[in-house]
Amino acid sequence: MPEKPIQGEKRVFMTGNEVVAWAAVAAEADIMYGYPITPQNEIMHYWTRMLPKYGRRFLQTEDELSAGFTTAGGVLAGRRAFTATAGPGNTLMQEPLSMAEAMRLPVVVIVQQRGGPSTATVIYSQQEVTMTTLGGNGEGLRVVYSTATHQELFDYTIKSFNTAWKYRFPTFVLGDGYQAKMRESLTMYDPASRGITMVPTEPYVGRPGMPGVDREPTHLRNTYNVEEELFEVLEQYLADYAKAAPEIAEYDAFDTDDAELVVISHGVVSRACKEAVKELREEGYKVGYFRPITLRPLPVDQLRDVAGKAKQLLVVESANGQLDRLIKEAIYGCTTEMLSLFKPGVGITTEEVVARVKEIKG
């Protein structure tokens, strides 16, 4: 039995990609399938360096279609399998992830967003929100965690395996190029030492016994003959998703109760927003902070509550309104004024958020 990768707790200073690799090892992930794309490459680099020591496996595939489908295969075989990608790779990954949705396969995908559309930049954006939450042909029956810090990259990479295997929906950790490449301190830990039990995995295919004799054979499919047959399956899936959504949804917020304006953001941009709200409060502005941690499902009730109390909402993102659209849908019917600070493919600083709020407030 290979030793535990992390004994108890450990304070470290490392890049986000390294954090993800460590988290996957700590989460007892068995196998990674991947195809190189910046800025996620080092997840594979660190994983492949660690795997002999901890008895894990890796396959470098011919493209992201294959990386996604082989990951689905790994899950079908009952392994805690994952992959990582970005940008145009994420685009290709939507095809296998559609199948994972159709078959309820707990595939875990780490996305380190880069600029888009197309190959764009290899650096940073928040432009993969729409694709990651709603990509593929279907209804977007998936879970997306948007991380803001290296600590969260560690925490939510571990959590993503448990969410995926508990609810059987494909699960994403949505990071970005900044998180992937910068160094930051965090505490790594053995999940068990914090009372986190890894949800056990089980094979869909290749179970013991003679199929047709000792047990029913597994006949998994994603093709249906008639509309009603598909509708029946989807009705069940949608009901399962609706039931799970409030249990899965997470958010972070402060100063929203008396706020006239609430700043809404996600991922690393929320770090700038958090600082901005604190500064503005000190200057006497009645501002609040709200950040959905799950972009799918969104914390809809909490969002509606916050939106109902405030006079204005300011959505800040490194995209041209991808989060904004999700928020508008979630709070549909609410008449609170919606304002924005959109910088597609570019980072956002505290100063810019402060300036935008002051511009609004006059």
């Binding site: 196998i31 294959s66 075989a77 006949h219």
Partner: protein, 253 residues
């Protein structure tokens, strides 16, 4: 007493009669595969993947664990299963469109990596399920819905020689053959060897099966057999193309 044609033991009786058109070759290829599985006694080990295309109709054909995937993606799904659980015997079953067009990169890469899986590709010279369009294997001059005047080799090239390509790019340990539904006994032998090759952990195993599609060929029984036995074999040579064993050292290399 009436003599029943032998039905492979691993066939799923509940799903018979099967869903393929009358005269379709898919049923015959699956019969050969079923017999091979029976003879090897591996029904409890096989994980069968089928593609989109008429092969998807085989999702509940056998009493073996099955996953029906996307068009062209059966090879990576079975690769993923096999890499994660080396005890299973992975079979990727697809059409010529699935293997030589949309999924060609996966076939090439699985062959190059010598994946320990068995791929079976049904060559019926066109796209069956979508209604008879041109495929990579459509023969020169053959009329299909998207080559209504016959395949023009000047613009569309010649039919893909799949097994020959796989043989050329695989290393030692690979098994490659082309069989035909016109000779089921031989086809079963090839498929059995392909499975044994995987069981021995040698390398990639690939069998192309020449097959019939009377529905889209618009042929009667007689013409169907003529097409598969005479016309197709002009371009697609039946036989073993590569068997495992040390590669010959070529002089001067």
């Amino acid at each position: 007493m009436s003599v029943q044609p032998a039905m492979p033991k691993c066939w799923r009786v509940e799903s018979k009669p099967h869903k393929f058109c009358p005269g379709c070759g898919h049923g015959l290829v699956l019969k050969a595969l079923g017999q091979a599985i029976d003879e090897l006694g591996i029904q409890d080990k096989v994980v069968f993947g089928c593609d989109i295309g008429c092969s998807l109709l085989s999702v509940d054909f056998f009493n073996v664990d099955t996953v029906q995937t996307h068009h062209g993606r059966t090879t990576p799904v079975i690769t993923g299963v096999k890499r994660a659980n080396t005890d299973v015997i992975g079979v990727a079953y697809m059409g010529d469109g699935g293997g030589y067009a949309i999924g060609a990169q996966h076939l090439v890469s699985a062959a190059t990596r010598n994946e320990r899986i068995t791929a079976i590709l049904v060559n019926n010279t066109q796209y069956g399920m979508t209604g008879g369009q041109m495929a990579p294997t459509t023969m020169p001059g053959q009329k299909t819905e998207t080559s209504p005047y016959g395949r023009d080799v000047n613009t569309m090239g010649y039919p893909t020689q799949g097994p020959e390509m796989v043989a050329a790019i695989t290393q030692e340990g690979a098994y490659v053959a082309r069989g035909t539904v016109a000779n089921i006994k031989q086809l079963k032998g090839f498929i059995k060897k392909a499975l044994e090759n995987q069981m021995a952990g040698n390398g990639f195993s690939f069998v192309e099966a020449l097959s019939t599609c009377p529905t889209n060929w618009r042929t009667n029984a007689e013409d169907t057999w003529k097409f598969v036995e005479q016309d197709m074999t002009k371009y697609f040579k039946v036989g073993e193309i590569k068997v495992p064993g040390p590669r010959e050292e070529k002089e001067g290399q």
